[in-house]
Amino acid sequence: METPDSVPGSLSLAALAGSPRRVRKERLISRVMFCAALVSVVVSALIIYALFSEAWIFMRDVDWSSTWGELGWFPRRGIYDMPTLLVASLWTTLIAMIVAAPLGMGAAIYLSEYARPTDRAILKPILEILAGIPSVVLGFFALLWLAPNVVAHIGGEGGRGSMLTAGIGVGILTVPLVASISEDAMAAVPKSLREASAGLGARNAVTTVRVVLPAAVSGLVASLIVAVSRALGETMVVFMAGGAADAAIRTYSPYDGSLTMPSAMASLASGTDQVVGEGLTFQSLFFVGLVLFLLTLGLNLVGDRFVNRVREQY
């Protein structure tokens, strides 16, 4: 369409300026969206501020000898033995990973390398449903079913909660997380590599172990780190099935009940009128929260690194 008025020389600025109303509207939309994004940043900052300000009072005023080498965690009596909580957190997280790592990775390998499309179509939604189960439901399941039917058969008591019971419950909770991140990592391995391996006379298992898993290794590690971070922060399952109410004696046996960092916080927060009063009891809650926050933040940063490495490779 070469008409004389479309020649560049005769083009006016007004023709390219666009409608002022639409330009204004677009600018407004952009600002509204920016505010929405800003809210989450502000809330994050507020959380960190609240955490730090109360935790700071605790750190400033506490008798530090009461946070180490005591009998246990008795916040209402001014005894804040941190190792009690750390040992319990470590046990439940470790047990959770012993459950979640093989089950989650196994499911991921099956879904990504073995399952026929029809099997996949059934199994994947079931995994996703498991991921969506509220943790309070899993807490009941751990206490009422896992304790008598599983824990009682591996040396524990069936009638009450323990770190072992809570750990298995948390493990089940994190299986879908491990499975889905691992499966994503394996799915990102190009099909051409599997074909190359098959073309050289490798069976499916060999291809999986020698080609797919090594190529996906950073994603697999990331899935475990994210799961550890999730298990460390899991509150409800441990609170319900961990076998301790609002105080715990330091114990190194997973068959005993104890409090992890988040479950100790939940137990303190659940009886509000009692929390306030006894010296630094209220502030200790924030101190534990800060420790937990820093631990999971560190783990998530490391996990993100690994996840990014998966994205870079292909």
């Binding site: 590599l193 074909e195 190359a196 391996s197 050289l200």
Partner: protein, 288 residues
């Protein structure tokens, strides 16, 4: 019908009579394809293809896109097994053995019949580890001098040794595209196969790298039988001894496209004096 039987002599001798006039000493038949059809679910990708691939020759499959040439090639090492819905009918004999017999293990087939793919697909491992992969998986050799020999010989045959001998432990992904493809060839011949299947091995390469691979193929012919799928008619004319031309049949009722083998003959014959009009149109560039 699917049993491993002795019927292979029949078609062989028949073929001797047929083509014997132009080349008196006929090499052995590696693949004997008869009335082979391939389906993906209800869709028929290849219909009734029949041809024979001879030892120490390069056989080229040419034809337009969607004509089933790659699909047919992937039957030769049972690579189509990886696709859930793929189904094969007819007969495909490899040195007289029915490849689709229920007793045949696809893994054993693939150890004898190597494959080079369209896009270079080295493992994200060292150059050495890439070449060692096949022999290790097949249990041909353990780490040590025997394996080092395999690595060196394979890389030499693939004309890559001089370029990589000082950096065998570097990651293969650091090589150029052409080098990666030659590495894939080295990796395929490290298991000492009988046949090399090449699925458009130069389609992702520049002209210089393409020339190198073509030169390489001439040398590999002495040790292996080669089947190559190519989009590039000139390439088929340059490298192959025999050429099969495939075309597409469009079914007017269901509007599906099925690949058919139009003509199969010596490459010289196919390009100078094809007997089918469709082949002539294709090789002279009037179609496709």
């Amino acid at each position: 019908m699917t049993a491993i039987d002795d019927l292979t002599e029949g078609p062989d001798s028949e073929h001797l009579l047929e083509v014997g006039a132009e080349s008196p000493a006929m090499p052995e038949v590696v693949f004997d394809v008869e009335e082979l059809s391939v389906y993906y679910g209800d869709f028929q990708a290849v219909q009734d293809a029949s041809l024979q691939v001879h030892e120490h020759e390069i056989t080229a499959f040419i034809g337009p896109s969607g004509c089933g040439k790659t699909t047919l090639l992937r039957c030769f090492n049972r690579m189509n097994d990886l696709i859930e819905t793929a189904r094969v009918t007819g007969s495909l004999r490899y040195h007289g053995v029915d490849l689709y017999d229920s007793k045949v293990d696809a893994v054993e087939v693939r150890r004898r019949i190597g494959m080079v793919f369209q896009k270079p697909n080295p493992f994200p491992k060292s150059i050495r580890a890439n070449v060692e992969y096949g022999p290790k998986v097949a249990g041909l050799a353990k780490k040590g001098p025997a394996m080092d020999d395999i690595v060196e010989n394979s890389l030499r045959k693939a004309a890559l040794w001089d370029e990589v001998k000082d950096r065998l432990d570097d990651n293969a992904l650091g090589l150029s595209g052409g080098q990666q493809q030659r590495l894939c060839i080295a990796r395929a011949i490290a298991t000492d196969p009988d046949v090399l299947l090449m699925d458009e091995p130069c389609s992702a390469l520049d002209p210089i790298a393409t020339t190198r691979i073509e030169e390489l193929m001439h040398g590999l012919k002495d040790d292996y039988s080669i089947v190559i799928v190519t989009h590039n008619m000139q390439q088929a004319a340059r490298v192959s001894d025999r050429t099969a031309f495939f075309s597409v049949n469009v079914n007017p009722e269901s509007d599906t496209r099925t690949g058919i083998l139009v003509e199969y003959d010596s490459t010289q014959q196919m390009f100078s004096n094809p007997s089918d009009e469709r082949t002539e149109n294709y090789v002279t560039g009037r179609f496709g």
